[in-house]
């Protein structure tokens, strides 16, 4: 809960309002957590792996991809663990057949929405989406591909965006807004017709807000954002900067 600013300062003080510690279980293993930690982060602290795509350490959570879903005893629906907080005595299951099955289906649907041709992609061999296929045991897509037509915008001097490879994870939007402070990226449209845009859907090269820092390119999990001059399989992303930037901004929360 948020209080008015003068009260919030008191509420934020750990000695006045200590963060509660909860105990709950993940896959039958007893774990403890601060009440404001997500199930995903508690799982990872305890060496339990949950696949993710839109989550990136150092950025706020968006809950966009749904690959991190887990089962919570007593709840009929599956919950995205990156945006779900634990409750006392909650029983979380990360690896039931049902969870694994839905994760694979979600991944397959991501492949049907756009046009992923790994063999000719700049990110071949260095792509989070591609690695997830082996991690989740996806051997083929059971659904019809949508064959949607998407543009490539290469108007920026140093970078290009290929919407065929975008998974709408919004990492670019978040890093540009939260770390670079430019908020060049946003999203327009609805459902699978959504697309990420620069400024008010102008060509990236004409954007007046973009500083050319390249952070969006580095955090993009796929071949959607890349540096110009990189050919097939040459685009490796550098993400080491995020924790440092977070530290320098004094932002401990995320």
């Amino acid at each position: 809960m948020r209080y008015p600013a003068f009260l919030q300062r008191i509420a934020d003080r750990a000695d006045v309002q200590p963060v509660r510690i909860l105990t709950f279980s993940i896959n039958g293993q007893a774990v403890s957590a601060r009440e404001d930690e997500t199930i995903l982060s508690v799982a990872r602290e305890n060496g339990i792996s949950i696949p993710t795509l839109c989550h990136l350490d150092g950025l706020s959570e968006r809950g966009a991809c749904r690959l991190c879903i887990v089962e919570i005893k007593g709840s009929p629906k599956l919950s995205p663990s990156c945006v779900t907080l634990p409750r006392q005595d909650m029983e979380v299951i990360t690896n039931s057949d049902r969870v694994l099955d839905y994760r694979r289906k979600i991944l397959e649907l991501l492949f049907t929405e756009r046009n992923h041709i790994c063999s000719v992609c700049v990110s071949n061999g260095h792509c989070d989406l591609q690695s997830l296929t082996t991690e989740l045991g996806m051997t083929h897509v059971h659904y019809d591909y949508l064959h949607t037509r998407h543009a490539v915008d290469a108007s920026h001097e140093r970078f290009s965006v290929d919407h065929n490879r975008c998974v709408l994870c919004q990492r670019c939007i978040r890093v540009c807004e939260e770390i670079e402070g430019a908020h060049t990226w946003d999203v327009m449209g609805r459902g699978y017709l959504s697309k990420v845009i620069t400024d008010l859907n102008q060509p990236w090269g004409e954007s007046t807000s973009c500083t050319g820092c390249g952070k969006c390119v580095q955090v993009c999990p796929t071949g959607a954002l890349s540096e110009k001059g990189k050919s097939v399989a040459e685009m490796t992303k550098k993400r080491q900067f995020l924790p440092y930037l977070k530290l320098m901004r004094g932002d401990e929360s995320r």
């Binding site: 041709i117 061999g125 591609q130 082996t134 083929h140 897509v141 591909y145 064959h147 037509r149």
Partner: protein, 177 residues
């Protein structure tokens, strides 16, 4: 030992998966003690025989001829493998799926043609509306992704199949590999 009857075909692919198969080098000698190639672009049989034990299919289904080939091959094969990314996802041939058949044809035969500028008709198989993965037409027993799948993986899968071992790719090959 009776040799198992193997067929291979390429539909809309570049032949790269077959080249990767040949990259098993001298292992092919031992392999051919155990298999008999009854139909393949690598050998000279013109029609698909009956009673195939194992069929390897390279390439996407893109034309009327591909469709006919895959339906016949499936009906005569016990086990059928989608062999490589074009067969599994439509891959590069599928890049035309964003465009209509007419747009694709005129790009190739009119816009980029210095002379002639005639659309093919009659003497080449008619393109289907979309270039599709094999499993959208027939039941597939095993998916072998990779562009192309590495030679070692092809060899070990074939040996597992012949010996009746459980099949698992275990992340040894992936899309685009």
């Amino acid at each position: 030992m009776t040799r198992i009857r193997v067929a291979t075909t390429w539909l809309d692919g570049c032949s790269g998966c077959h080249m990767s198969f040949l990259d098993i080098d001298e292992n092919i000698i031992q392999l051919f003690d155990r298999i008999e190639l009854v139909y393949s672009p690598l050998v000279d049989f013109k029609t698909i025989p009956e009673n195939i034990d194992l069929a390897l299919v390279e390439g996407a289904v893109s034309s009327e001829a591909d469709k006919e080939e895959i339906l016949t091959l499936r009906s005569r094969s016990k086990v059928l493998i989608s062999f490589g990314d074009c067969a599994v996802t439509a891959n590069v041939p599928g890049m035309r799926n964003q465009f209509s058949v007419m747009e694709t044809l005129s790009r190739a035969y009119i816009e980029n043609s210095a002379s002639g500028q005639i659309l093919p008709s009659g003497f080449v198989p008619k393109l289907l509306e979309y270039s599709r993965p094999v499993h959208e037409y027939v039941t597939v027993d095993l998916f072998l992704p990779g562009c192309p799948p590495p030679a070692g993986v092809i060899l070990s899968i074939l040996n597992d199949l012949i010996d009746g071992r459980p099949l698992s790719l275990g992340g040894k090959t992936r899309f685009g590999a």
